[in-house]
């Protein structure tokens, strides 16, 4: 099963414009770090507020949290690039992915409960704590009416969503699939991931915790910016050895080898499992770690890597790009991007 990538959108600490961010990553530019509000001076990458001014101005998002703002902004850009009409949007499935959801409102809501008692929570905050709130805002803003699903899990969940999106394109009433991933920043999640060892605030060579979003429109037909040549649903693991074995099992399906690997490594102890797998399967193939430029925004990072790979292919710099993800908690997966090889007439305007 293959799918064409026909629309891209991202919101990153380096900006939102596709080409500007792409060039910044190529040039190795890094965002300026800033402390997480209310934290013990934890340095992270933030999305500049003016990057998403259009989303912030939407009445529907008046009371929503940053995760929804980022998701909607990225989705608007992806849908615009794909040029989907109202009729086509009616035949579009949305799959949104999140790793920890609306953590800002969740912490604020529960903080009120802890400090002032169980009857003191705010009815304005609670609805936005629900995992699928961003998906609802995306669907409502861009005008979708079909299936809208939210997947939660570690950073590999985004590749599961892409796999699901490719499958969804086989449904008789689905022509397009919009995949969106988003991550917001709060001191409590920064603290949690630091304690867990998923981000490494101490090591200078490690990626910073980050926020942002990404969105991709998939189509079954036509010529896209790139093609999903292999999309794996992922394999679950219990130990770090199993991560490497799982990735190797997936890599076995990839031939000929890729000419670039966009790695999910971020400078933590989790990296070794993924590095071992691609070094064994594809020795000599260069690997890059975009999290060093864009930070680690969990499931959103995985989709940003797919966008980066799509741009590499679209600009003719690479032809086959492997995007592996060793999720931090339970699943490993991989995706292969190739040049677009349309089978039928173009559906892209």
């Amino acid at each position: 099963m293959k799918a064409q990538i026909i629309g891209l959108g991202w919101v990153t600490p380096l900006g939102r414009d596709l080409q500007t961010v792409y060039q910044s990553v190529l040039n190795g530019r890094k965002p300026v770090t800033s402390p997480v509000p209310e934290s013990n001076n934890q340095q992270v990458y933030r999305v500049p507020a003016d990057t998403i001014a259009d989303a912030l101005a939407l009445p529907r998002l008046r009371r929503s949290s940053a995760i929804s703002h980022f998701a909607v902004a990225a989705a608007i850009d992806a849908v615009a690039q794909a040029g989907l009409t109202e009729e086509q949007l009616a035949r579009t499935t949305l799959i949104f992915t999140a790793s920890d959801g609306g953590v800002i409102y969740t912490r604020r809501f529960y903080g009120d409960v802890v400090e002032h008692g169980p009857g003191s929570g705010s009815p304005l905050l609670f609805p936005e704590t629900v995992y699928n709130a961003p998906a609802s805002h995306v669907a409502g803003t861009v005008g979708l009416s079909g299936e809208v699903l939210t997947l939660v899990g570690d950073s590999s969940t985004t590749l599961s969503a892409l796999n699901m999106g490719v499958e969804a394109l086989q449904m008789p009433d689905v022509d397009f699939c919009l995949i969106v991933a988003s991550q917001e920043m709060d001191w409590i999640s920064a603290e949690a991931y630091d304690r867990w060892g998923l981000i490494n605030g101490e090591a200078p060579e490690a990626a910073c915790f980050s926020e942002g979003a990404a969105a991709i429109v998939l189509a079954q037909e036509g010529k896209g910016l790139a093609e999903i040549g292999l999309s794996h649903p992922g394999l679950s693991y219990g130990t770090s050895d199993e991560v490497t074995r799982s990735l190797l099992a997936i890599f076995d399906q990839i031939s000929p080898p890729p000419d670039l690997i966009i790695s999910s490594t971020s400078g933590t102890h989790f990296d070794q499992t993924e590095e071992l797998a691609y070094q064994e399967a594809f020795p000599g193939v260069p690997a890059i770690s975009p999290k060093m430029s864009l930070g680690d925004a969990l499931s959103a990072s995985s989709l940003q890597h797919v966008i980066l790979g799509t741009l590499f292919i679209h600009h003719g710099i690479h032809r086959r790009i492997l995007i592996p993800v060793a999720g931090f908690n339970g699943q490993a997966s991989a995706l292969l991007l190739t040049e677009s090889t349309p089978q039928t007439d173009s559906v892209i305007a």
Binding site: D100, G101, V113, S136, G146, M164, M171
Partner: protein, 392 residues
């Protein structure tokens, strides 16, 4: 084209809810229309308008521990998943899924609460990495699948209260379209202080009895539980089938359904179309039926539009609303109804609304032999999902 697609059969299932741990206890509770709502024992509820909920029996930890001792350290969600999965696998020995699709809204929220409470109160040193890890919503199913030796891909759907039905529906699509032959599907959620406080602050939870579709209904009671299904492709027309799935998005409001019931109606119509059934074939509607004024009037209108002849009940009246688990638990209850030959009751019902002339199965089970049932699940964010179960 549809003739070439395989049927999706329920080869085994397991269920944990306030009505019982396991099928046998649940059937007994359903037969007696037992009200399992009780005062909340898991956390403080002072200051809340609502102080009761459906809670899984206190023997849960012991029952899970009998499967594996290490489950004693797991969250309640994970213990419920272990019990439901154990039962499902005992009814379908040797089942190994190609894929796992699960619905939940809050997963291991209780551990997240522990961490947040400690951090907010500046008691951070007590919180270990394990507590944080157990908070993530997919942790309960990951723990349970490792216990039973599965390494299949996992998809955790969090579509608010529609999650369980969405999970079953997505599993059906995977099998129908040849992406998998065997899928483990279901849902789980345990009662959590944060979520309880949330529904209370929205004034969606009632301080009184939960009375779905009653003219004086005043809100929902929360619940908890888990249900797991072993779904398989089957070329022959045998067993109970997961026969149809439909979903629809309603952009009207984040927490309120459109009053016309358009989202639920479209979901039900799509499920019927997917099954290839006429609406007249529906023998029973297991309603979402939360007991809130807005949900029940919206859903009631949709049912009257789609299958006005069908008897209706909300089993949430007996066990509360288990959110991401609800669709899966109610699918298990529908399966029991098909197997046992009765329609579950809608308890605490006194009188319906004059403009919603539904055939409510009031307060007692209705002995009959249903062949086709539809189960509705609707959630925050405009998520609407319906599934259809049928016998050959």
């Amino acid at each position: 084209m549809s003739a070439a697609l395989p049927s999706v059969i329920i080869a085994g299932y397991g269920c944990v809810s306030p009505l019982g741990i396991g099928r046998e206890e649940t059937v007994q509770s359903l037969r007696t229309s037992r009200d399992s709502i009780s005062p909340v024992r898991l956390f403080a509820v002072e200051g809340c308008q609502c102080r009761s909920a459906g809670q899984v029996d206190e023997s849960l930890t012991e029952r899970a521990s009998a499967i594996a001792r290490k489950t004693r350290r797991w969250t309640r969600s994970a213990q419920m998943v272990a019990c439901a999965l154990d039962e499902a696998l005992r009814t379908r020995p040797g089942f190994r899924p190609d894929c796992i699709v699960i619905g939940t809204t809050s997963g291991g929220m209780s551990r997240g609460e522990d961490f947040m409470r400690a951090m907010i109160r500046k008691e951070g040193e007590v919180s270990t990495a394990r507590r944080i890890r157990d908070y993530v919503p997919h942790q309960p199913i990951l723990q349970a699948m490792r216990l039973f030796g599965f390494n299949a891909p996992v998809r955790v759907i969090s579509n608010a209260c529609a999650s369980g039905s969405n999970a079953l529906g997505v599993a059906r699509q995977l099998i129908r379209h040849g992406h998998a032959r065997r899928v483990l599907a279901g849902g789980y959620d345990s009662l959590a202080e944060l979520v309880f406080a949330g529904f209370d602050c929205l004034r969606a939870a009632t301080p009184e009895k939960c009375r779905p579709f009653d003219e004086k209904r005043s809100g929902l009671c929360l619940g908890e539980g888990a249900a797991m299904f072993c779904l398989e492709a089957e070329e022959h027309d045998i067993g109970i089938r997961l026969a149809g799935y439909g979903s629809a998005f309603d952009a009207h409001h984040l927490t309120q359904p459109h009053p016309s019931g358009r989202g639920p109606r479209i979901a039900m119509e799509r499920a019927l179309a997917d099954a290839g059934f006429e609406a007249s074939r529906i023998d029973y509607v297991n309603a979402h039926g939360t007991g809130t004024p807005l949900n029940d009037s919206s859903e009631g209108r949709a049912i009257l539009d789609v299958c006005p002849q069908a008897p209706v009940s909300s089993t949430k009246s007996m066990m509360g609303h288990s959110l991401g688990a609800a669709g899966a638990i109610e699918a298990a209850i529908c399966t029991m109804a098909l197997e046992e030959g009765f329609l579950p009751a809608n308890i605490n019902f006194r009188q319906g609304e004059a403009d919603l002339p539904l055939d409510i199965i009031a307060n007692e089970i209705r002995p009959t032999i249903p062949r086709t049932v539809i189960s509705n699940s609707f959630g925050f964010g405009g998520s609407n999902a319906s599934i259809i179960l049928s016998t050959p």
